[in-house]
Symmetry: C2
Amino acid sequence: MGGVLSACGEKPLAMTFDLKREEPVRHASAAPSEVSGSAPAAIPPGLKAHASTVRARRGQTLALTLDGSEAAFVVQSGALMLHLTLPDELRQVVAILYPGDVFRTAFAPPAAAAHLSAVSAGEVLRFRWSALARLVASEPEVARYFEDAVAGQTARQAIHMMAVGRFDCRQRVATFLVELVLRTGVRAPCGGVAFEMPLSRTDMADYLGLNADTLSRTMSRLRASGLLSHPDRHRALVRDFEALAALTPAAPSLIALHGETPAGRAL
Amino acid sequence: MGGVLSACGEKPLAMTFDLKREEPVRHASAAPSEVSGSAPAAIPPGLKAHASTVRARRGQTLALTLDGSEAAFVVQSGALMLHLTLPDELRQVVAILYPGDVFRTAFAPPAAAAHLSAVSAGEVLRFRWSALARLVASEPEVARYFEDAVAGQTARQAIHMMAVGRFDCRQRVATFLVELVLRTGVRAPCGGVAFEMPLSRTDMADYLGLNADTLSRTMSRLRASGLLSHPDRHRALVRDFEALAALTPAAPSLIALHGETPAGRAL
DNA sequence: CGCTGTCTTGAAACTGCTCAACGCGTGTGG
DNA sequence: CCACACGCGTTGAGCAGTTTCAAGACAGCG
């Protein structure tokens, strides 16, 4: 069934998509009357001077604190995930942080095993929170950037909440795939969209509040239906993005929230 | 089974608990070395001058925008809930906002029906976001308050995510009850803790990602086990808080995050 | 007093979970 | 060079927990 696709999918996937942050490309005039849906600002260049740049390899864990005091992070490229583990082996990937996203230690709940780990190789700016807070207070541009980044992440969390709380397994998986396409997708020569799947099955399952087995089954079903194919373990190709998006009620919101980087092409 | 409790429960519950924000009571020296778990600051008094105070009755919906532009809210007393509704009748209560919590329009995802409604009667400060953003940029105290409030809410969302994604129905209900106790609980004369349950069954279910029927059954089971009794529709009494807390793996985190107001007594 | 909306409860259906087996690619040591 | 173990993903069968649907109890309100 999927043989037709993979014949096309293998070749173009040789190129690397590395979740790099695109150039600003402010489409300020795109929708001037909309109250929400404003484009996220680019990371203020001034920030870099006050931070240390951390290169993270896939799977690497970042310490949540900076020698005992609160830290803050801004993702430059790659992606991070925040996951919580509770006593009973219960694990939940709370959020995935993409380029431009911000994180501070206090975002992680106390009295729980929280970890921030790299989902794909990339660069992260690391601050002492006190320093970043001072920047936020003194530089309006940084403040605006920070507030908007946090707001966007909060809105995404709301969608994620909806997905985990209310969607069935197929909808959840479709939701996540749409998210990935919007973040890392590139048009494939044969018509579909190729994208990265940086998380392991287990991590995906923990992100979606599903069992790893169930997730695997669900993806197999999507593959069997011809919507999806994955030639490589960490790559996949959707034949028809519209059809995939139709599987999740959250598609419009996802497009509004994630659609910045390669989304222009994907739509 | 529950008759023994209700004999005690009815009387003391005549008093009203109205989710009022307590006096600051900064226990600054309580845990000076802890990096997280810092006590939330009181709402800066200066804020009130730049806001309009909205009195909300239970069930009332607050418009998310202020004549077309982005708005922001700070809860003074009572509680709000943010809920999303997607095409397929799918409804999720994303967050409950307690006194001290902040909200801005951009926290709600675009392209989804988002509503902010009062869960119990109370007062809310409403700002034009541009005005609050200016305050945040100019007054360090406001900035600190705002950032910390947002961080605390984010941390609570993470726990909520874990609950919805990984807990079974009893754990979820226990989690929510612990949350309520920590927010509105008062020691009852007979030994237990009495607290408010401002949400309807449907709203609770939508908050916990459960079916309303399942929720009802779960609560009945808790009642049958003697842990819980509710004399009134919107009131309840836990006989043994420790036992209730033992039902949810998130209890320590909840106590760290919510335990400010009547928590001193509850523990 | 009857109405309506909320809550409860039961029985049946179903979705997703558990557990266990297997395939596959990779690294390691004989 | 091969054998083996290991991690990871897949798949099947059986089961448990949740949802669904429908009926009934209860309180608030006109």
